[in-house]
């Protein structure tokens, strides 16, 4: 670390690469990175206004931030909070309670967590409350008393908001929204969710207390912006210590995003999903390939990374099956063709397989039935076949109805890629009738 301070601003190539990795990994991997949000100025301003009204003017409020996964809900909120807390007269006037639907799985836990985050555990002591509402009111009241400044406002952040709607009677939500409507203590309730239908989850009495303010993060960018996003994620900042290295790196990134093959790959990913997180998945794999001996990103790196990203994992698993297991898959494929995807049982699969074995004069595939059953069970474990009814139904496993969770094209492709696939097996798979 201390080396960076040396007067001479050129670093060794190893140090440069290490620094590049550090900077870019923080951007890509760290979910709490504090880079500048991109393309959400409107929403940012809106949210900041709302929260300022609570904190400065003591107006209670509630708002939902809605957007698909990885579209930057958390990032938007965090950047607004940083901006808010950075304002001079606000700091110390506001308390933040951060809840998450994944962690506070019921309202008892949530209340305990709120108490803890407000530092009121000692005040509560052994006190017992009649109701949830009483308890919450006491907490907010205690905030006022303990402090000379009675206008302290509380921001309740509820990440994974939809999960709170599953709590019994939605008690927490009801009480928070209720307080946000009556002007006891100024509070703001900010919910973050990826469910667009979130309002339908709320009970009527809860819904009616919600302000119905929503901030949507759905802005679907066009491809041009996507390329800019891609560039921005990879460019080195101005204050990179080794200027000439940064210059060269950034030059290369700009050059890269004009490359035809790179554009093709980005297009493919763009049409699959437009969010930052899936772009990050791609970039992470690109970044893994940056080493001292490969110190710039080349189009080939992107091609390879994209290939890894879009690999079909079922095809991978098929690749590692034994020949016997593969034969069973083919038998099931034929059954699917004959019976139009009706479920079948092991006995039928075995029968189909036997037909194939008997047509061949030689006995290469002639295994005892229990050996075949073991192979079938392995497919079961890999969840390539799925039982139609639960295990509770008492039925011999040979006759349990199952379904194959692969489609024909996946199977045929796997056969093409299968190492040293016997020709007769291939022909059998290709034959139209069993």
């Amino acid at each position: 670390m201390s080396k960076r301070k040396s007067k001479d601003d050129s670093l060794s190539i190893g140090e440069c690469i290490s620094l590049v990795q550090k900077i870019l990994r923080e951007r890509i991997c760290c979910q709490k990175s504090n880079g500048k949000p991109f393309g959400v100025e409107m929403q940012q301003k809106h949210l900041l206004e709302l929260l300022k009204r609570t904190v400065v003017h003591g107006e209670s409020n509630s708002v939902l931030i809605i957007g698909p996964r990885g579209f930057g809900k958390t990032m938007l909120l965090n950047s607004v909070l940083t901006e808010l807390l950075g304002m001079k007269h606000i700091k110390g006037n506001v308390l933040i309670v951060q809840l998450n639907g994944l962690l506070q799985t019921d309202d008892r836990i949530a209340l305990k967590e709120i108490t803890r985050q407000l530092n009121l555990e000692n005040v509560i002591g052994e006190r017992v409350f009649g109701s949830f509402a009483e308890n919450l009111a006491f907490l907010l009241e205690a905030l006022k008393k303990g402090d000379r400044n009675s206008s302290r406002s509380v921001l309740f952040i509820l990440d994974e908001f939809d999960l709170f709607a599953h709590h019994k009677n939605q008690t927490l939500l009801y009480n928070l929204f209720d307080i946000s409507q009556s002007a006891q203590t100024p509070i703001a309730v900010v919910g973050l969710t990826c469910r667009l239908d979130v309002l339908e989850l709320l009970e009527k009495r809860v819904k009616s207390r919600f302000s119905h303010r929503q901030i949507h993060l759905l802005t679907s960018c066009d491809f041009k912006q996507y390329v800019i996003m891609f560039q921005q994620q990879l460019l080195l900042p101005e204050d990179f210590p080794d200027k000439s290295f940064a210059e060269e790196w950034n030059q290369n990134i700009r050059f890269l995003s004009r490359d035809a093959s790179v554009e093709e790959i980005l297009k493919k990913h763009f049409f699959l999903s437009k969010d930052f997180r899936s772009l990050h998945l791609l970039l992470m794999r690109v970044l893994c390939r940056v080493t001292v001996s490969n110190k710039t990103i080349k189009p080939a790196d992107l091609i390879e990374a994209s290939h890894l990203c879009t690999m079909d994992s079922k095809a991978n698993i098929l690749h590692g099956l034994s020949v016997l297991e593969l034969c069973l898959i083919i038998a099931m494929k034929h059954l699917n063709d004959v019976y139009d995807g009706e479920p079948f049982n092991f006995q039928m699969v075995y029968n189909e397989f036997q037909k194939f074995v008997q047509r061949k004069a030689h006995s290469v595939y002639n295994y005892e039935k229990p050996v075949v059953i073991k192979a079938f069970e392995h497919l079961h474990q890999l969840e390539l076949v799925k039982p139609m009814d639960g295990p509770s139904v008492r039925i011999q496993k040979e006759y349990q109805l199952v379904k194959l969770l692969l489609d024909n094209s996946q199977i045929m492709e796997a056969l093409q890629r299968y190492p040293q696939c016997p020709t007769d097996v291939k022909q059998w798979a290709a034959s139209a009738f069993a």
Binding site: I28, Q31, T105, S313, S322, V371
Partner: protein, 446 residues
């Protein structure tokens, strides 16, 4: 990967050591290292490593983490079958990294876990190194509380530290994804070993008394028999160890020379095929298998697949079972044809529609009422039959043995229905012991 030097450039000797310990996994090791990055840098919040059984997922991950001395916790979901056990395992392994912490945790929920974890990482003495949490057999997480899997996937965000969670599983990621989505992990596939790689790895545990070449020959023969059926390294290794002494027998006796591979093959191959039907299926235990090899001659009662010929039943129970089998697999309307002496014109009726044939044995046993069972039973037993009460008790003991099952609710006292749950081979073996030619009575085999 064209370039085998992973990022970061670790000490050469560590890399060499890894390479030696983990043969045939060079690509995976260097990929893993480049995903990890330098200890102080961030790594992706969650990594899912998937691949077939015994492709070294556990072995490689654990060895790499240990050799590089990266701070980590390693838990297996088979051991930690409740959330509480899981949390406690992870925390106690981590607390040995942070000596300042006391041992006592009360950690029941994910909320507690995250809170304690946060305390740990704020008192982080590790210079902000990435902490790795490896969850083996991660597919079990899906069946536990719904918040666990998404929670662990975004542990980094929840705790707010430099943490990476690694999931190991043989199930593809698509089967994990919750309905409302989650933070997608980086997927990382461990390919299966090729035949040559299996050969190479298996040859590593050769017997010190024998030459490399001989052991290689042995492994080659073994793979020749088993490769088409099983590619599980652990299983193959087990089979290799069990059968090697048999392979060496002709050598030790001086009957065959080491170079005569064909003769060696001839002597061991049938033996291995038999192993496939017995030890491989766990029909006999390894110990029994070794005993069989010692005694050498075929002791009758350890014949693997045919072991069930020795289920011993009372005389009438055998007939009851046969009757039950017939009732399960023959359509009721054909009973007359089989069991009435003078069925006359029935023969002409065209039962035998082509598509119907053999379908009963494909679809499995059908339930039948008690009186049908008794009717068939009385018609196939020649001698006079003991009292009915005795017969009923034999039926219930067949149910206890799970050779028959009671279908539907057991409280349906008036008309219980049964199903026969034994296989064709089994019933044929039983029928043989009472000289009953069952195939003649089965509609499917007319």
């Amino acid at each position: 990967m064209p370039d085998q030097t992973p990022f970061p450039t670790y000490m050469k000797d560590v890399l060499l050591r890894l390479k030696k310990q983990l043969p045939c996994r060079d690509n995976e090791v260097s990929m893993l290292l480049s995903l990890f990055g330098e200890p102080q840098h961030y790594s992706y919040p969650s990594i899912l490593i998937y691949g077939h059984r015994a492709t070294g997922k556990t072995f490689v991950t654990q060895t790499v983490l240990q050799e590089l001395k990266l701070p980590h916790a390693f838990v297996s979901m088979v051991e930690c079958f409740t959330p509480r056990l899981l949390f406690q395992q992870i925390l106690s392994q981590l607390s040995s990294l942070y000596p300042s912490l006391d041992e006592e945790f009360h950690c029941e929920t994910l909320n507690d876990f995250i809170r304690i974890f946060r305390q740990l990482s704020t008192s982080n003495v590790l210079d902000q190194q990435t902490v790795y949490i490896v969850i083996d057999q991660a597919e079990v997480l899906r069946d536990m509380d719904a918040n666990l899997l998404p929670g662990f996937l975004r542990l980094q965000e929840l705790v707010g530290g430099n943490i990476t969670v690694i999931f190991l599983t043989e199930i593809v990621w698509e089967k994990f994804r919750p309905n409302t989505g989650c933070l997608e992990p980086i997927l990382f596939y461990f390919p299966d070993y090729t035949k040559a790689e299996l050969q190479q790895i298996l040859c590593k545990d050769r017997h010190p008394e024998f030459s490399d070449d001989l052991y290689a020959t042995y492994i080659n023969i073994l793979l020749g028999v088993f490769y088409a059926v099983c590619r599980d390294l652990c299983e193959l290794r087990h089979l290799a160890a069990l059968n090697f002494s048999k392979f060496c027998e002709p050598l030790l006796k001086g009957e065959v020379r080491e170079s005569d591979t064909h003769k060696l093959w001839r002597s061991i191959e049938p033996h291995l095929r038999k192993a496939m039907q017995t030890v491989y299926l766990r029909e006999v235990s390894s110990l029994q298998w070794e005993m069989m090899q010692d005694t050498k001659e075929e002791t009758g009662y350890l014949k693997g697949l045919s072991a069930y010929t020795h289920v011993d039943l009372p005389y009438y129970s055998k007939f009851l079972l046969i009757a039950a089998y017939l009732a399960s697999f023959n359509p009721a309307r054909t009973d007359k044809r089989f069991f009435l002496k003078h069925h006359g014109k029935m023969k002409k009726v065209t039962f035998l529609k082509k598509h119907e044939k053999t379908s009963n044995h494909l679809l499995g046993p059908k339930p039948f009422p008690l009186d049908r069972l008794l009717a068939i039973f009385y018609s196939i037993v020649d001698s006079r039959v003991a009292s009915t009460a005795n017969i009923f008790s034999q039926i219930s003991s067949l149910v206890t043995l799970q050779l028959l099952t009671l279908v539907g609710h057991s409280d349906q006292l008036d008309s219980p229905k049964y199903k026969c749950t034994v296989s064709m081979d089994f019933i044929c073996a039983i029928a043989r012991t009472v000289n009953f030619d069952i195939v003649r009575y089965l509609y499917d085999f007319l």
